[in-house]
């Protein structure tokens, strides 16, 4: 509901313009700085933003980049989906059972400590170089983040909520459905968001580290002809995609779970 200007609480710094304007200013300032810096380098090494925008507009309109991106999403969604299917039940088990937590914690920590990319030689042996290997890498790269977040969330469900449910005679599946699940939605959303960002990162990693296809192949081709504008164009698409996924899920959470006040910005 719009508040009349006169009724708004007085700000400490009345001259401060609203946030979107400032963010726009920041983007413009950053792009100008980049343009100036790029002018001192060769076009081969660091393309200025104007060249990147030209490259983007040409290849977005010819539908080449969007088509590649859509193909890339295939293995990303498969790996991400499998990770959710595996990690969410396991996370609940580890979070709600003290015995499971004690037993699994050292093993998960140990596996999580190994950079997922180091498993690439294994994935080549097991899954080959193509679609399945890429999906497997996406799975590996996001499953632990989801698992750890879900387990931590499930451990921290307020005991008071469950006690009230038990006091009113709820138990088993009914308690899970009516108390535990609603209390878990906030951290489930966090887990899905972190996992999706990781999965998007893994998507392009997989395309560069196995047989290069889709966006990975596009980037390698651009690198081979010293076309830094092409590389930066793909990078900017990936950055915007990641940011969009993250902010989109945050907005969805606010919309679906209005009772859960977000403490962090």
């Amino acid at each position: 509901m719009p508040v009349p200007a006169a009724d708004r609480p007085r700000r400490m710094r009345p001259w401060a313009p609203p946030a979107p304007v400032l963010y726009g200013l920041s983007l413009v300032a950053g792009l100008v700085a980049w343009e100036l810096v790029a002018g001192r380098f060769s076009r081969v090494v660091l393309a200025p933003p104007s060249a990147v925008l030209r490259h983007l507009s040409v290849h977005l309109r010819s539908f080449e980049l969007p088509a590649l991106l859509i193909q890339s999403l295939g293995h990303m969604l498969l790996g991400y989906g499998c990770a959710i299917v595996v990690a969410v039940p396991l996370g609940f088990l580890i979070g709600r059972s003290e015995r499971a937590f004690v037993m699994c914690d050292p093993i998960i920590n140990a596996l999580y400590a190994i950079p997922s990319i180091a498993f690439v030689p294994f994935l080549v042996i097991w899954c080959g170089l193509f679609f399945w290997a890429r999906a497997a890498l996406v799975f590996l790269m996001c499953v632990f983040d989801i698992l750890v977040t879900v387990a931590a969330g499930a451990r921290n469900v307020p005991a008071g909520l469950l006690d009230v449910g038990r006091a009113f005679g709820a138990s088993g599946a009914f308690l899970f459905r009516t108390v535990l699940l609603p209390a878990s939605l906030p951290f489930l959303f966090t887990a899905f968001r972190l996992g999706l960002v990781r999965a998007l990162v893994a998507m392009v990693t997989a395309e560069l580290f196995f047989a290069a296809v889709n966006l990975g192949a596009y980037m390698q081709a651009a690198a081979n002809r010293f076309d830094s504008a092409g590389l930066l164009a793909v990078l900017s698409i990936l950055a915007l995609l990641g940011l969009g996924a993250q902010e989109g899920l945050k907005a969805l959470e606010v919309w679906l779970l209005p009772w859960h006040g977000r403490s962090d910005a």
Binding site: A16, P115, F122, I125, A202, V204, T205, L232, L238, Q246
Partner: protein, 253 residues
């Protein structure tokens, strides 16, 4: 659970995993998944050979340089963003974009920019870890209670004293947490960069992956795991020593 039964359960779980791996490894064969008994034997040979450790030392030295640079740049930047609205709005959009971008996707560009030598690896590790350090310091700096700072002002502390004696100690837990998250990403980025251009420890993993036996490969992964756990634990100890009130404070990034 008592401490003893915890340890017992953990030992049980680890033994169960090893037995399961041994059975699976024997059925699948050495070429697909080496059983732990074979890996252990191969590991002794890897250590005795010395290549693994010398490559590891070289790679870690470069990783530490990039990570140190990320701390030196990221911590002040995060604090500035947390305490000043101007810094926040000017830098935040770029930080949010960089933190979600894949490090692997930066590799081809950085190869053009820096070649494949020390600068390249430094830049990749820096770019992989700095944003997590910035964001954790930022969340910490935003959350410092203004009451604490007001006490300083009431006792006529100079701005320098307020920063050095009040703000910074309040931020130690966040700085350490940020460094820990950043270090995890720095080690990952080190392996990514090295596997792509096939140098150092990551290159060794790539080359070992082409052998017919998977035992040396698993040995290399085991060492990497030890290094990562040890580095993380060291930072945790350092945090407890620096700030005894340090508890696992994790900022959502």
């Amino acid at each position: 659970m008592t401490r003893r039964s915890r340890l017992l359960h953990q030992a049980l779980a680890i033994v169960a995993v090893l037995i399961g791996w041994e059975i699976l490894g024997r059925q699948m064969g050495d070429a697909l998944l080496s059983p732990p008994s074979l890996v252990a034997r191969e590991y002794v040979a890897l250590v005795a050979d010395g290549t693994m450790l010398s490559e590891l030392a070289g790679s870690l030295r470069q990783m530490v340089a990039g990570f140190g640079l990320a701390c030196v740049v990221g911590m002040p930047l995060g604090i500035a963003m947390g305490r000043s609205r101007l810094w926040d709005v000017m830098v935040h959009p770029w930080v949010s974009m960089c933190v979600v971008t894949s490090v692997a996707a930066l590799v081809p560009l950085f190869l053009l920019l820096f070649g494949s030598g020390f600068q390249f690896r430094l830049a990749i590790v820096f770019m992989a870890s700095v944003w997590y350090i910035v964001l954790t310091a930022y969340h910490g700096a935003r959350g410092v209670s203004s009451r604490v700072l007001e006490v300083g002002r009431a006792f006529a502390a100079s701005p320098f004293q307020q920063f050095w004696k009040i703000l910074l100690p309040a931020l130690y837990p966040y700085l350490i947490t940020g460094a820990r998250i950043g270090l995890v990403h720095a080690i990952r980025a080190m392996v990514v960069a090295e596997m792509y251009v096939i140098v150092g420890y990551g290159g060794l993993i790539h080359k070992t992956g082409l052998q017919t036996s998977t035992a040396p490969l698993l040995g290399l992964l085991f060492t990497l795991m030890l290094v990562s756990l040890l580095a993380n634990q060291t930072l945790r100890w350092f945090g407890r020593w620096l700030a005894p009130w340090y508890n696992e404070r994790s900022a959502t990034v």
